[in-house]
Amino acid sequence: MSSTSLHADHVGGAVMALSQPENSAIPLENSRLSNARTPDNIGGPDNVQVIVEMALLRAFEYLHSSGVVINKAVSLTVLRLIDELLSADHPDLLAVMMQKLPERITLPHPQLPPSFPLIQRASIGYDQR
């Protein structure tokens, strides 16, 4: 489990990473998404851009929280998925992307600790002599 959330600049960084040999240590100022819009100011001609930004952010955050290492291959897969959905002019891009994401990227199945050992039933005595 990681408590670190992905920031908008991670997405910008991941996009940039596609054209770089290494995908780490992307400086904040290089991120074109570092000032991502909030849902409250969505509207008008920027709507598609916002949705794509959100889709990228959401996908990377989900993958990161699930324990997937965000490398070049993963980033490309996400971008391709968004590309496909955009090309298909899908009306509900975010929802469909989140549905299809596990099909494209194998999410790790974390080993969860057993919450309780094997039950060995016994009773409590009341010393009724």
Partner: protein, 719 residues
């Protein structure tokens, strides 16, 4: 522990314990306990104690009789003498306990104790046995409790004996804010400590019978798999070495059913808590050594920081509901004393072992919290009257232990009654004509005499009994070369003096509150059983509301005393002044900054504050990663992919019919209106239902950006 298969929710509890590394059980080890004649020694000690206490009380009561104007000739005076005798006897027992403790400590320990019996024993040769360490919790500070448990785990790992121990968090929490945090922290600790299959978590759906019910539930499910069980409180800490030693002592002494340690108070921050912590560490060793010396193998169990012999405990310590009326009907609130009495009835010994060190607990930070705890304990202890009178075949020592617990609270109304009768006596003497023939059918007149100097002598003598043990404890610290650990000679002396002043200020406040609790308990007013507040300071308004009635009573009483007789007014001051100052006393004692100010000037310093203690340092590391609010905790449970799976694993499933429809409606509401649209009950239902958790997780991540969860995700991404 090796293989753990992930099952669906309904078989969560069917993980298999790997038995390949199963430690040596008690049966594989043939103990050869050392022969001890402790029963003879203890009987002699008890006889001596009884003689001293009864003798001292007789002298005190005789003196009291001579002090009273009619020398016990009136009903009021007879009642006064009776009350005085009971209270004096009570004080006298404490006094002689402390004296005994001092003597034993000066002579290097109690020859009859378990630790002394095996002083030169090669401990390493004693094999360990499978032991469960259980921590029942209920709405407790997650950082504090699970951080503490994590420290115990690490400490035990350092001993290299971890394989013999399993840890259990037994939650009774109802508020999802608490239990979702507990579950998330449990998972995180499992990962951090690599404790898969070693650290377990269970939350009861139905929390019947308080803490004892929680432990009984654990025992019914898996108790069979453990030779010993160590019970911790939510604020307990025990070093690995101590735990290992306790198991070995139990292995060596198969007749011991319960082994109780004497926990040291730590982590105090407020002034009251630091005062209590200091008193516990300076005076505690004398009293606990004295107590153990008279209890022997018939000690009591305090419900935590103790090890129990699991199978024997299960066989004999079931707590039947009381069948009397009112207070004496229903579940037993204070289970520990009763369990000790029951296991002893079955032929096992119960030992208090003050020489087992590195065992800790915390104290309430404010008087308000302390009194809230006392309210529960008062009811629990008074319930024991029923068992004291009607339980069959209990050992006399345990009946006395019940009486001791009852007296802890009954002493307050007795003291109040004493004060009321004293006021009545004075009123009669001042306002009524002198009665020269107080006794009927007597030919001889009685001239009432009042000798204030005798009364003063008696009061000083009684105070001596109360305060002399504290002086003796101070001497014990000095002669044992521990003064530096308590801040040095000067600071230690000033601290003891201040502690005496504070305890004098607090005694009448506690007396009034305890009296109220006793009355409430006897009239069977329902009590709320909640976790301790270990952090908050008392506010002025709350203190004034809480202490206002006591202050008014004290002012009225003092005013009446002044009107009656100025001399009586002066006598009333030691009680009236603390009550008049109760609100400021409560507020100031709860303040952390004042507590820390005293610490800065090396007052109320304790050894753990002076020297680094690894266990305490480890326990103070935070384990919570999200802010502790219902909203933050619930959102994390829904959104975080891993935590959502953890919560699903711990949740239940397969509701049908109306309940399933209702859950779906709740999910819909949660998705459209968010957390704010749910009641706590609905939140609990959703968070404890596997399918709902999965659905909410899926739908939240697919939510439109302008929806509640879309916005929540955006906030999360931008944070």
């Amino acid at each position: 522990m090796s293989e753990h298969t992930t099952h669906n929710h309904s078989t969560i509890e069917t993980f298999v314990i790997d038995t390949s590394s199963e430690p040596i059980s008690a049966s594989a080890f043939t103990p050869s306990p050392k022969k001890s004649y402790w029963r003879v020694h203890i009987a002699l000690r008890r006889f001596l104690l009884t003689s001293l206490v009864v003798g001292q009380t007789a002298v005190g009561s005789f003196y009291m009789t001579s002090v009273l104007p009619y020398h016990g000739g009136t009903t009021i005076e007879k009642s006064l003498i009776a009350l005085f005798a009971i209270m004096f006897l009570w004080i006298s027992v404490g006094f002689w306990m402390a004296i005994t403790g001092f003597i034993i400590r000066r002579f290097g320990g109690d020859s009859q104790s378990l630790m002394q019996r095996y002083r030169n024993h090669p401990w390493e040769c004693v094999p360990l046995a499978k032991t469960a360490i259980v921590m029942p919790i209920y709405h407790e500070d997650v950082d504090r409790t699970l951080g503490g448990l994590s420290a115990v785990y690490r400490s035990l790992a350092q001993t290299g004996q971890l394989a013999h121990f399993d840890f259990f968090i037994l939650s009774d929490s109802r508020d999802p804010k608490f239990w979702l945090s507990e579950q998330a922290t449990w998972y995180r600790l499992c990962c951090e400590l690599k404790a898969f299959g070693k650290l377990f978590y269970r939350r009861r759906v139905l929390n019947m019978n308080y803490k004892s019910g929680n432990i009984a539930d654990f025992l019914r499910r898996v108790g069979k798999g453990y030779v010993y069980t160590v019970v911790l409180d939510a604020d307990s800490l025990m070093a690995g070495e101590t735990l290992v030693k306790m198991v070995r002592l139990m292995q060596l002494e198969p007749k011991v059913g319960i082994l109780q340690t004497n926990p040291t108070l730590v982590n105090a921050r407020s002034l009251l808590a630091r005062t209590q912590q200091f008193a516990n560490q300076v005076y505690g060793p004398l009293f606990s050594t004295g107590l153990a010396a008279f209890q022997g193998g018939e000690a009591v169990y305090w419900g935590h920081n103790a090890i129990i012999r699991t199978q024997e405990f299960m066989r004999h310590c079931g707590l039947k509901r009381l069948t009397g009326k009112g207070l004496f009907k229903g579940a037993i609130s204070s289970h520990d004393f009763v369990e000790a009495a029951y296991i002893a009835r079955a032929g096992y010994e119960v030992w208090l072992e003050p020489e087992l060190t590195a065992t800790y607990e915390e104290t309430p930070p404010s008087l308000k919290d302390e009194l809230a705890r006392d309210k529960r304990w008062a009811k629990g202890n008074l319930q024991h009257i029923y068992l004291l009178l009607f339980a069959k075949r209990l050992r006399f020592a345990h009946r006395m232990a019940f009486l001791n617990g009852v007296m802890s609270y009954i002493a307050s109304p007795l003291w109040l009654a004493f004060l009321i009768l004293t006021t009545l006596e004075t009123t009669y003497l001042v306002l009524r004509t002198i009665n020269y023939f107080p006794q009927e059918h007597s030919l001889f007149p009685v001239w009432p005499e009042w000798h204030p100097e005798w009364a003063l002598q008696l009061a000083i003598g009684t105070l001596g009994l109360l305060f002399f043990p504290k002086i003796l404890a101070l001497v014990d610290v000095l002669v044992s070369g521990r003064r530096k650990a308590f801040g040095g000679f000067f600071c230690l002396k000033i601290s003891v003096l201040l502690e005496m002043i504070f305890s004098t200020l607090l005694a009448p406040i506690r007396m009034l509150s305890h009296t109220r609790y006793v009355i409430e308990a006897l009239f069977n007013v329902s009590l709320r059983w909640a976790g301790q507040n270990r952090s908050n300071e008392t506010r002025w308004l709350a203190a004034i509301i809480d202490q206002g009635p006591g202050t008014l009573i004290a002012l009225a009483w003092s005013g009446f005393a002044w009107w009656l007789d100025p001399m009586f007014f002066y006598w009333s001051l030691p009680i009236a002044i603390p009550l008049a100052l109760a609100a400021p006393t409560t507020v100031l004692l709860s303040r952390v900054n004042i507590g820390q100010w005293f610490k800065k000037y090396r007052l109320f310093i304790t050894p753990e504050e002076k020297q680094t203690n690894e266990l305490l340092t480890m326990s103070n590391q935070p384990v919570l990663t999200t802010s502790f609010t219902s909203r933050a905790v619930f959102v994390e449970a829904i959104l975080h992919p891993l935590l959502n799976q953890v919560h699903q694993q711990l949740a239940r499933s397969a509701h049908r019919g109306q309940k399933q429809k209702y859950l779906l409606a709740c999910c819909q509401r949660c998705l459209t209106q968010g957390i704010e649209g749910l009641t706590q009950k609905q939140m609990t239902m959703l968070a404890s239902h596997k399918e709902s958790l999965a659905l909410l997780h899926r739908e939240a991540w697919q939510a439109d950006v302008s929806s509640y969860w879309g916005k929540e995700l955006t906030r999360r991404l931008q944070s």
